[in-house]
């Protein structure tokens, strides 16, 4: 088993339900949806007109001149990283820059910057394309900008595995600390893909729900994981960053500790570019790997923040995985999907849900899954429809993420 213990000492997020961790967490516990009708003029031509915009615009938080050099995805990452850094008390802590790493992911990079500049190219010519376009749109821009802000001179990574990217960044951060490559890692994910092109593409592949977009429709009711009426995910945006730290380093500086990161598992289905393995075999292996790495007794796994995006096949497969891994103990496990409230943040999802998982352990309470009016009979899981207390004692919670390309990432957190 790995000898270096890794802990979570700081959290930050900007999400569709709140501009920081406190407001996001309270909204999740209360079952508040962040999904609404989009007001952008381009939605008129799309079959899907709803989404989860961030609750607080980054322009309200960031310096204007610095923000205009950042793609919206990097803006979310900066907002979240600033919060996590402050929360962890790292300012003036004497942390050596060479021991600070960054792993901040996105699923599809600076897509709005890319497409906005292509529009300019077509309309106004090559001369008007921004000289900043490439450093803004590159997939490692969020990670690189966080490293610039905080002078991180150890590894700066941006792992991409579509909707598993944020969780993979956290898994990578654990490795960086356990391999001795860093003492502290700013780890997370971000996504800003509410733009007509990705929305049209997701809608055309029938991944997005087309319900609730009509006039008078209720967008807050559309993301409904495990419900019989689920028919696709709702696109959200935002970012989240966690401070992961070696326990030794955290103890030495007297940092507050939210949770321990017990272990991670990463696997691939090699089944289809977009569809999950219907039996969830790859995801099962990832979850088992995470529990084995963390030497976790399945009986202690009492909470799962599921990937469950509200798609017909994916939600079923994840239930099969949990049964395969937890066996009889699955009956004592509270499984929830916060995507029912936030929508799907793609590369930001795993990170936002890691924040929710850590807060669930810390406060010993699971957020509900909203809109679960008629549970799919194929799903045999204990899913709370209002907040549910978690037990005392040493408990473990899992955060699962799965992505196009067949990626499966599971991270196991333990109470402290």
């Amino acid at each position: 088993m790995p000898s270096t213990r890794v802990v979570v000492t700081g959290l930050g997020t900007t999400s569709p339900v709140g501009g920081d961790v406190a407001s996001t967490w309270q909204a999740l516990l209360a079952g508040t949806s962040g999904i609404s009708h989009l007001t952008d003029e381009w939605v008129e031509q799309l079959p899907v007109k709803i989404g989860g915009r961030v609750a607080v615009e980054p322009s309200e938080v960031l310096d204007r001149v610095k923000a205009r050099r950042l793609d919206r995805s990097s803006q979310f990452a900066m907002v979240a990283a600033d919060q996590a850094w402050a929360d962890a008390g790292l300012e003036g802590s004497g942390l050596e820059p060479e021991r600070l790493a960054v792993a901040v992911a996105s699923g599809i990079g600076g897509v709005t910057t890319l497409l906005a500049n292509y529009d300019i190219l077509l309309e106004k010519g090559a001369r008007r394309v921004s000289p900043l376009a490439v450093p803004m749109l590159m997939p490692n821009a969020p990670a690189a900008n966080v490293s610039l802000k905080y002078g991180a001179r150890a590894a700066v990574h941006a792992p991409t595995s579509a909707c598993a990217s944020g969780n993979e960044a956290i898994a990578m951060a654990i490795d960086l600390i356990r391999l001795g490559r860093a003492d502290v890692v700013l780890a997370g994910g971000t996504e800003a893909a509410i733009h007509p092109l990705p929305m049209a593409a997701f809608a055309n592949m029938m991944a997005l729900s087309k319900t609730g977009s009509e006039e008078g429709g209720d967008p807050t009711r559309v993301s409904r994981p495990w419900d019989t009426a689920r028919d696709g995910f709702v696109l959200g945006e935002g970012g989240a960053v966690l401070v992961l730290e070696s326990e030794e380093h955290a103890r030495a500086r007297g940092a507050k500790v939210y949770a321990e990161v017990r272990g991670a598992g990463i696997s691939n289905d090699a089944h289809d570019i977009a569809q999950p393995d219907p039996e969830g075999r790859g995801g099962t292996r990832a979850i088992k790997m995470a529990l084995r790495e963390g030497d976790v007794d399945p009986a202690t796994v009492v909470h799962v923040n599921a990937h469950a995006t509200s798609t017909p096949k994916g939600d079923i497969a994840e239930g099969l995985m949990l049964h395969a891994v937890l066996g009889e103990h699955v009956d004592r496990c509270v499984v929830t999907s916060t995507k029912s409230m936030t929508g799907h943040l793609l590369g930001g999802a795993g990170a936002l849900e890691a924040v929710a998982t850590v807060m669930a352990l810390h406060d010993r309470v699971s957020p509900p899954t909203i809109n679960l009016d008629d549970k799919d009979p194929e799903v045999d899981l204990d899913i709370p429809t209002s907040r549910r207390d978690l037990p005392e004692g040493d408990i473990v919670a899992l955060n699962n993420s799965f992505g196009f390309g067949g990626a499966n990432v599971a991270v196991a957190f333990g109470s402290v």
Partner: protein
């Protein structure tokens, strides 16, 4: 035809928008790099915005000669000829 002061004022607004420099600090004797902290990429943005604003063309080879705000204003005045 715009006066020197009108061009300076419009250019100052562009520099403010791109680089966040207080428009009142953008005076003819100021160096973009040394006084106003406008880096090379921001300078490209300023030049492109100025081309559109003033209806002129400022070739890349000329940009390196525009050391001060006064250099840029003079170039724009000549180009508008």
């Amino acid at each position: 035809m715009a006066t020197t002061e009108e061009i300076r004022a419009d250019l100052a607004d562009i520099v403010n928008e791109v680089a966040g420099v207080d428009a009142d600090d953008v005076q003819l004797d100021k160096s973009f790099v040394d006084d106003l902290d406008v880096d090379s990429l921001s300078m490209v943005e300023v030049v492109v915005a100025a081309e559109e604003k003033f209806g002129v063309t400022i070739p890349d080879d000329e940009v390196k000669n525009l050391k001060t705000v006064g250099d840029a204003v003079a170039y724009i005045e000549r180009a508008q000829g």
